[in-house]
Symmetry: C2
């Protein structure tokens, strides 16, 4: 099991992290070649030990909570940190859910035969070692570890200092579960120190031992990881998501989608932050949409035309178009047409998720082709930006970069691939 | 057209490179949305202008050659640099060949419908701006630019100082061709200075303006790019490719494949560098294979058992197993069986291309599953490690990393993707 280690100088931290990296790398050869049965039974075993260790985990969580309270932490942050029996059961259940997913490894992604008889297969393989750096939510420990292992990877987890004890106990339980199931527990490593320099070492890639980093947390963490990481990162810095009400939008559908996109949950990355309304429907659609939002308790910041809809609308500043509120606030702008909507999204968006509401197929096609975001929707809420809603089962996060993984990152996206070529003695002329 | 610019301090170089980056980024919006017809006609137009500008290009090449000769350059390096009418025609023809390829953009990579009626499509999109850093071969200018644009990307090309004039004239011809065809010539930018600091700026990503870098050249260049780049890199440092003759290998097939894998062309990355022979067939296969190689003029370095085959065999050192000869030299080792072969490749290989020769399907399956290389072959020569042989039409290089692109990188691999979601008013519960 991992032990909390102490170290007095940077040299010993480097040594500690290098050891972690080497163990994770060594584990990749085992996990990459493990059968789906073995991976799944190891994950079910991990879930069982999480349940069996409920007392230890909840006790560790109580210590994390009392430390946080002593520092004056409260509200949503404290709530994210807190575990109780039902939440711990949900964590164990989520691990079992990942165990039940299909095996992403070995999937044949493409297959073809060349005229010389050589048969080619592109086959899914693991990525290697995935570093996960997260903040307060202790459930990330289990979610991330389960997704990484199911996709044949090893993982190095770095927990936030606030949830350190809880995360360590969850990781230890999972490692014990793996051990009992006969799969190397080194597939899951949790950095056994709160030393903040450990993050920098992970971002350096631990001398080639980490293949990709997934940050899970607020904008500060993600921004630091994106700026400093020397290895690829799967992440989104923010989700400034747009809903564009086109000239040919059905008002009832527009209203339903806008309210859901903004207000179903305001704290998720797929929540809409800006509503763009086509000038052509200002007279018919703008006022009902604005009043619906206001009446549901949403603050509306808009341009001068929007303000004419209702006196409760305040004037939006340039900053509003660039802001991910993650709150019951929306910015609303009237645009001259489809091109201005696309331009606005290109200028102010974050390449995450945008939706067009329209009955005009050509307009929808153009929007969905031109808008350079990970997810573009036609006549649907931006809140569908979620691996579960995509049918991926679970996701480790949502990526807005254009390299390797984009959009929800599930087990299939935590894979690389290789080519298998089947011959009968072919040589190259 | 690009002009050769001079600058006296680093500030002006930064400004120059930033301008290049901004122009390339602006061009992406145009190229990404260009129709296949427009991209293809722009490339055909580029080929036409390359032919029309043959005098200018060959004159520039003569200056590059005389400079190189004045510096004492000769042999293969000088030959790589040199253009003549047939070689220039081959360059123009290669651009036309890329024009004739399918459009990689907009391909539907996956499609499914969720129970709530939402239809999902994963669709190929461009990567953005691709930086290409190359050495002496001036044909890379045209090949790389054509592949980048066909896949909807803009490119910033950095030519080696030896081929600077030639590359600049080829790039200028292509830009002129694009202009005449009505596609922005800023899709192709060639760094208009030999200043070596420009490479470092490209590796920094030009403030987010470069999305990925492809180095084309020797190990020194690739190693530097891999170590210093702050953006993703598609490359292979070396190709230490193995052929493993399994216990159940047909001798005639083994001989044919080994000779081809090693000797067809020794300077390509898919050339075999190490031959592993199963202990079970030492008495029957080892000697004929070794003698065939020796008789074809190949130097053989082997372990003690190998040396018993023929007195011309010299003893291999530890270094030999790690060496990419790119020459008529091969290292040969006897291994106890399949597991030792896999272990040897894992320890000494470069994750590029490996082949097993066997009539035993189970052994082939295990080898092809366990060996963590971009390309694994059964009963075929490692020299098939080539985008053309894969049916990709052309390749910008071969990648051995596990992120995004792996193996031959053709137009389909120079793409990212996004999700299109088609609804009928769905909101998330």
């Amino acid at each position: 099991m991992n032990d909390v280690m102490s170290h007095n100088d940077n040299g010993s931290l480097i040594q500690l992290m290098d050891t972690l990296g080497a163990k994770a790398r060594a584990a990749t050869a085992v996990v990459a070649n493990a059968s789906n049965d073995l991976k799944s039974s190891a994950l079910r075993s991990a879930a069982r030990i999480i349940r069996n260790h409920a007392d230890v985990i909840l006790k560790a969580n109580a210590l994390d909570i009392s430390d946080a309270e002593a520092r004056g932490t409260k509200g949503a942050f404290l709530d994210r940190l807190k575990l109780d029996a039902p939440r711990l059961e949900a964590i164990a259940k989520a691990v079992e859910d990942v165990a039940a997913l299909h095996d992403p490894i070995g999937r044949i992604l493409a297959e073809w035969t060349q005229p010389n008889g050589l048969r080619f297969q592109r086959v899914a393989t693991p990525l290697g070692v995935i570093g996960v750096i997260f903040e307060s939510r202790p459930n990330v420990t289990a979610d991330a570890a389960a997704l990484c292992v199911k996709s044949g990877n090893a993982t190095i987890l770095r927990a936030g200092s606030e949830s350190f004890r809880t995360s360590m106990e969850i990781a230890n339980a999972m490692r014990e579960g793996f051990k009992q199931a006969g799969l190397t527990e080194d597939a899951i490593q949790l950095v056994p120190t709160k030393d903040r320099d450990a993050v920098g070492l992970m971002l350096s890639g631990l001398k080639g031992m980490i293949d990709v980093i997934v940050p899970r947390g607020g904008k500060g963490l993600v921004g630091r990881v994106q700026n400093e990481a020397r290895v690829p990162v799967f992440a989104h810095l923010e989700g400034i998501c747009h809903v564009y009400i086109h000239a040919k939008a059905d008002l009832a559908m527009a209203e339903r989608i806008v309210l859901n996109a903004k207000l179903r949950r305001t704290g998720v990355c797929g929540a809409a932050e800006t509503l763009l309304v086509d000038h052509a429907v200002v007279d018919t659609h703008l006022k009902p949409l604005v009043i619906s939002l206001l009446d549901k308790g949403c603050t509306v910041r808009g341009d001068a035309i929007v303000q004419e809809s209702d006196p409760r609308v305040t004037i939006a500043t340039e900053d509003d178009w660039r802001t991910e509120y993650l709150d019951t606030i929306i910015s609303v702008k009237v645009v001259a047409g489809l091109d201005e909507a696309i331009d606005h999204i290109s200028t102010y968006g974050s390449h995450h998720t945008e939706s067009i509401v329209t009955d005009d197929q050509a307009a929808a096609d153009k929007f969905m082709k031109r808008v350079d975001s990970a997810i573009v929707l036609h006549n649907a809420s931006t809140q569908f930006a979620d691996g579960g809603e995509f049918g991926f089962g679970a996701e480790i996060g949502i990526a807005t970069g254009r390299m390797h993984a984009r959009g929800p990152v599930g087990i299939d996206q935590l894979c690389s691939f290789k080519y298998r070529v089947f011959g009968s003695g072919q040589i190259r002329p």
